[in-house]
């Protein structure tokens, strides 16, 4: 019905009809897809969210005498230098060696804001590149090239997160409160680029896009592309980007990432494409998954659509749970408007893809050795009862040369004492039953938990042993950090 060439001609003549994805939905329901396709030439879509798989290729230019940078740091954040002498790739999630709250994303944001950053590079020195160290300051203008190249951006949809466990979890999906205390989700739903072109008819290799304020390009499907959880690999010139369309971010306990703004124009070439751009949040489904289970296969709590997620509340197990977004609908909306303005004013022309994105899912699990479970390393537990005297407990510890004694009542775990608790009791001249000195809130593991998960629990709680219990809190064994380090050292 229409070609990209014809649309570009209208852009040149100044009579192109551009609407945002939000407006298009109204238009199609009002006029029908056929009529809307005739009237509208371009639909602008937008998304603004945390996109960890992002970074910048830089070329620093050569110093005198020249250096082959083997390692380079920008504001103490290391960039990858396994490429040519003064090329490097700075990833947004790379952490500063001085602070856990500063990383690659912050360096990139500072450069885009016009600030200087410190540069330090070292090398072993070669005949052609004799210099061994350089310390300098660089601004964006000093770089020969600064190209943002993001392997995985603009997720079409994304699993929402919640937490069934009894502890606060700090994740890349934000802070998740215990006992299904909240739900977080990512993605902009019905205004997000790929949802408006789910067959990838117009978004493909070579599609010109809006990337953080600059003109950029889609260079292929992103890593882990798995329709309808499609992703894009994109590039754009960092020197043309604007700070208002990117933002460095920190997820406490997890690390640094960057909010990236992407806008993609969809040429309405025919009725089918118009129909696709009319998609509503109610039709875009995803899953809420439970981060309380720290495994690759996290259980699905329920299916939800983006309308429910955006409403701010969902129901889980009969209770209303509050929902937060990680993406910004406000800035995504601003991007759609900005792109609309640029097309209307003749600053932005559309491109037809030179190759289509794959409709296939390529997202296999990692090839790895068999997962090792707690049951293969746990030892038999020696237990005591709440009435056991402290003195008796200390005798058992010495006799069996162990440091932890789980306390059991009627077969169920009710507490734990350590050799440190006993030493403290002696120092404070406490006698009597161990119930007095035991820790009642016991951190436990289960036989079918992977050893890495058990090790993480010990590290997080700064403890050196975990009682192994079954679903009914009956003790079935004991695992210590010694058991684990023996296993992991092998």
């Amino acid at each position: 019905m229409k070609t990209v060439g014809e649309i570009n001609q209208r852009i040149k003549e100044g009579n192109v009809c551009v609407v945002t994805a939000s407006e298009m939905k109204e238009l199609v329901s009002e006029l029908g897809a056929e009529k809307a396709a005739k009237e509208v030439d371009v639909v602008t879509t937008g998304t603004f969210g945390a996109m960890c798989s992002s970074g910048v290729f830089m070329n620093f230019g050569h110093s005198d005498p020249p250096i082959r940078m083997q390692r380079v740091w920008l504001n103490d954040v290391e960039a990858y230098t396994g490429i040519a002498a003064v090329d490097a790739y700075l990833g947004v999630t790379q952490l500063s060696e001085k602070s856990g709250e500063y990383g690659g994303a912050h360096v990139i944001e500072e450069l885009v804001s016009g600030k200087e950053v410190s540069l330090k590079a070292i090398s072993k020195g070669t005949d052609c590149y004799p210099r061994k160290e350089i310390i300098s300051e660089v601004a964006l203008d000093d770089l020969n090239q600064a190209v943002m190249l993001n392997p995985r951006n603009a997720y079409q949809r994304y699993n929402a997160a919640t937490n069934s466990s009894n502890q606060i979890l700090q994740t890349y999906m934000g802070t998740l409160l215990p006992h299904f205390g909240n739900v977080t989700f990512a993605g902009c739903g019905e205004i997000s680029p790929l949802n408006n072109d789910p067959e990838y008819r117009t978004i493909g290799v070579g599609t010109r896009i809006f990337l953080c304020g600059a003109k950029g390009y889609v260079i292929g499907e992103g890593t882990q592309h798995c329709p309808p959880y499609g992703t894009l690999m994109v590039r754009g010139n960092l020197k043309e980007m604007k700070p208002e369309f990117m933002k460095a971010a920190v997820f406490p306990g997890y690390g640094v990432t960057m909010y990236v703004g992407i806008g993609i124009p969809i040429p309405v070439l025919n009725t089918e494409i118009a129909k696709a751009t009319a998609i509503r949040d109610e039709e875009i489904w995803t899953k809420i998954i439970d981060f309380g289970v720290p495994r690759r296969q996290r259980p699905t709590i329920k299916k939800v659509n983006y309308a429910e997620l955006k409403s701010g509340k969902v129901e889980i197990n009969g209770e209303e749970v509050r929902v937060s977004s990680l993406s910004s609908l406000y800035i995504a909306g601003k991007i759609m408007k900005e792109l609309e303005k640029q097309i209307k004013s003749g600053e932005f022309f559309l491109t037809a893809p030179v190759e289509r994105l794959s409709g296939e899912c390529v997202f296999r699990p990692m090839r790895q050795e068999e997962v090792k479970f707690v049951k293969s390393v746990m030892a038999q537990a020696i237990t005591i009862e709440p009435e056991t005297l402290i003195e008796e407990a200390s005798r058992i510890m010495i006799e069996k040369s162990i440091n932890h004694l789980p306390v059991v009542k009627e077969g169920r775990l009710v507490g734990i004492i350590t050799s440190w608790d006993v030493a403290k009791a002696v120092a404070m001249k406490k006698a009597g039953g161990v119930a007095e000195i035991m820790t009642r809130k016991v951190i436990t593991t289960m036989p079918d938990e992977p050893v890495e998960v058990a090790a993480r629990k010990m590290e997080k709680h700064n403890i050196s042993a975990l009682p192994v219990v079954d679903a009914k809190n009956r003790i079935v064994g004991m695992v210590t950090s010694e058991d684990l380090s023996r296993l992991l050292a092998r």
């Binding site: 933002k247 701010g312 509050r322 937060s324 910004s328 609908l329």
Partner: protein
């Protein structure tokens, strides 16, 4: 609203009860975190009596701050994602019509939960 901070000495005394008796004023505890060595409370007091209550509390060695201002948002850094919304225990944060994050400052209890979770560090307590 008063924010009270206790040192190891003050934390051992039944200070809220003492202040209630001595000023004949009801103190509504909004938030409490009391450990063996220090404590922090947020209490609501009738406006007219806040000064007197604060004086009494200070005489027991409590560090008292009046909480007239709510959490502050840096509009340059806020990206309006809304991650803070579901974390706020008193539902003081929400979206405006145009989907911008707005804070109902009169509801804020200075807990700092939103400050911790804000990914762009746009929030701070005064």
């Amino acid at each position: 609203m008063l924010q009270l901070k206790f040192d190891p000495k003050a934390v051992k005394k039944p200070i809220i009860s003492l202040a209630t008796i001595e000023t004949s004023t009801l103190l509504n505890i909004i938030r409490a975190s009391v450990g063996p060595r220090e404590g922090e409370l947020v209490v609501e007091v009738e406006d007219g009596k806040a000064e007197r209550v604060a004086d009494i509390l200070r005489s027991y060695g409590v560090d008292v701050h009046s909480m007239e201002e709510a959490v502050e948002k840096d509009e340059e850094r806020c990206v309006h994602c809304g991650l803070c919304i579901s974390i706020c225990p008193v539902e003081a944060i929400g979206f405006s019509k145009e989907r911008k994050v707005v804070i109902d400052t009169s509801r804020c209890i200075h807990c700092g939960s939103c400050v911790t979770v804000c990914p762009t560090k746009a929030l701070k307590l005064p």
